[in-house]
């Protein structure tokens, strides 16, 4: 984190240092002093966020007695662990895109309600609560609802459609996705609402004045403006479902997921000599997140160019 802050400094200095003014050294000193205000934050994040990640990255290449080894990485990228990565990514992509679209629709419906109306306040606060909901309570909600003898399952069976006879199970990947949507959709509503606020009604009016239909407004104005934020929010949802631990653990569905596998290592249930495989798995998750963020940056640049 410190390097990031420092790397930003020259750019800032070149901006503030008046040409032909005080010497470069004075300007640099002033710039550094200005940076002093963000030092506590930078240090805290370096210790609380940077240091643990560095420790995981180093540990991924350490054998139990401290020497360098690649065996952790090798184990983490084969067999059940590779399968865990694949399923985690599959789950996270679906549990990001689907709630992303649904959440956008819901957020738009909320946004069109009058500001300060009861509907809006209830919906927004409820999103805040549900977005933080997870773990055993959430698992229980859905076992009572869509478990093999759950309430909704019984209703559907009475209607002549037993989901369990049509390939659905709460403990399959599709079941876990349905459960994850319970906190993913509200999270999407929370993070996309500010972006919707950025849609100026004047644009809509201008489009209407020039004879644009609703779909044309969304195709050429609203859509492109929303796209970068939408992609960013979907990326956030991807990260959120990739890291979901409590819910996956509580569902106990038997689906191999990387966070659960890492948790197992921390709980001490490990084969001797493989103590650091958990860290290699952790490093793998961080790399997946980094790749996802890289894709997001590229997509956002492209859509920004499209905007101009």
């Amino acid at each position: 984190m410190d390097e990031l802050v420092a790397a930003e400094a020259p750019e800032f200095l070149s901006d503030s240092g008046a040409p032909g003014g005080p010497g470069a050294a004075v300007a640099a000193a002033r710039g550094l002093r200005r940076m002093a205000g963000v030092v506590p934050f930078g240090v805290y994040m370096a210790l609380g966020l940077g240091a643990p990640l560095v420790a995981v990255a180093i540990g991924a290449f350490q054998s139990p007695n401290g020497g360098f080894t690649l065996s952790n990485v090798r184990i983490a990228t084969h067999g059940e662990y590779l399968h865990g990565f694949a399923q985690s990514i599959e789950l996270s992509v679906v549990a990001a895109v689907l709630p992303g679209i649904l959440g956008l629709l819901i957020a738009y419906s909320i946004w069109t309600a009058r500001r300060g109306s009861i509907l809006r306040q209830v919906a927004v606060t409820a999103s805040g609560v549900f977005a933080n909901f997870g773990g055993v309570p959430l698992a229980f909600l859905f076992i009572a609802t869509l478990g093999s003898s759950g309430l909704a399952t019984r209703w559907l069976t009475d209607l002549g459609f037993n989901p369990y006879q049509h390939g659905f199970s709460l403990y399959s990947l599709s079941g876990v996705i349905v459960v994850y949507m319970y906190f993913q959709i509200p999270l999407m509503v929370l993070v996309i609402l500010p972006a919707l606020e950025g849609l100026r009604p004047a644009w809509r009016e201008a489009a209407a004045n020039m004879g644009a239909r609703t779909w044309q407004y969304w195709r050429y104005v609203g859509g492109p403006v929303l796209m970068p934020s939408f992609l960013g929010c979907v990326l956030l949802l991807f990260g959120s479902s990739l890291s979901a631990y409590a819910t996956a653990q509580a569902m106990d569905s038997g689906i191999a997921l990387t966070p659960i596998q890492i948790g197992t290592f921390l709980n001490g249930n490990v084969v001797a000599g493989q103590q650091n495989v958990g860290k290699a798995l952790g490093l793998g998750m961080v790399i997946i997140i980094a790749i996802a963020m890289g894709i997001y940056v590229v997509l956002q640049r492209r859509s920004a160019r499209w905007l101009q």
Partner: protein, 289 residues
């Protein structure tokens, strides 16, 4: 002019709305049926599991939750962690956000980027690394948990405060205050803070909600916080465990609702922002952009 251009071109969607006209004045499309359909479907999806869980728990369980063994200790620990986390978070994030807004506006982008990290980096990875690097005197205490919760809460706190700072002209107010002879502490206390009440409230609520619901780190660090207790107690009595989690859900929600309404009332009085949990949107102040 340059500043206006940057805002318009650089972050068309990220900034809070400016100059949104009153409802009905400019908006042609009303509340069409398909929007109702979406909201009703969403309501069904979110309410049926709650109803199913209520039926599973039964009304009797709710009364007996607080008498269960371990309940008070777990809730006490969670509340203590929430208080420590909130105090540190606000003490760290408020000065940083104000400072960046006033002196280092170019860093805002970078800070926004950093605030994404704790949301997307898996907590399970963080706790693995943290237990590795934490100094010994912190490892055996629950303070380590509180210190790390600050990192988890930082995105929500920073974004709330940042949005609050954008909702009024901080720079002009601070300059006016300084030119009238007020010192820094006086400016902060009498000019900046009163304008940020709503933002700080929403930052506090989000932080508290996060700490009261966090399970992954607490369970892997072997502390029996409230969410961990709910899971452990599930072995003793399923219905009471479900009742406890429903109770926590409703209490948090009522709390949030109360603060939103309080914030709305304050906003009407001062012309400040509306709490939107993740941001505080600018109210229509007739400014054009």
């Amino acid at each position: 002019m340059a500043a206006v251009d940057t805002i318009a071109a650089g972050e068309p969607a990220a900034g809070p709305a400016q100059g949104r006209p009153r409802r009905g004045a400019g908006r042609r499309d009303g509340f069409t049926p398909w929007r109702w359909l979406i909201l009703v479907l969403a309501g069904v999806y979110f309410l049926i599991p709650l109803y199913a869980a209520l039926r599973f728990a039964g009304w009797g369980s709710f009364g007996s939750v607080i008498h269960q063994s371990g309940f008070t200790d777990a809730l006490g620990l969670s509340v203590r962690l929430a208080v420590i986390t909130t105090v540190i978070t606000l003490a760290l994030m408020l000065p940083t956000a104000v400072y960046v807004h006033l002196r280092l506006p170019r860093l805002r982008r970078l800070l926004e980027g950093i605030t994404i990290l704790p949301i997307v980096i898996p907590p399970v990875v963080l706790i693995v690394g943290l237990l590795q690097v934490a100094p010994g005197f912190l490892k055996g205490t629950s303070y380590l948990l509180a210190l790390e919760y600050v990192v988890l809460a930082m995105p929500f706190a920073y974004r709330s405060i940042d949005a609050g700072l954008r909702s009024f002209d901080l720079k002009t107010l601070v300059e006016a205050s300084n030119s009238l002879g007020a010192g820094w502490s006086s400016t902060l206390r009498r000019v900046v803070l009163p304008n940020l009440t709503t933002a700080l409230l929403s930052a506090t609520v989000l932080t508290v909600a996060l700490v009261l619901g966090e399970y992954t780190m607490a369970s892997l660090d072997l502390y029996q916080t409230f969410p961990v207790w709910i899971v452990v107690f599930d072995q003793t009595s399923g219905p009471i465990s479900v009742a406890a989690s429903l109770l926590a859900l409703f209490v948090t929600w009522l709390f949030l609702l109360a603060i939103t309404m309080l914030g709305g009332r304050q906003a009407r009085r001062t012309g400040g922002g509306e709490v939107a949990l993740f941001s505080v949107a600018r109210r229509d102040t007739g400014r054009t952009s």
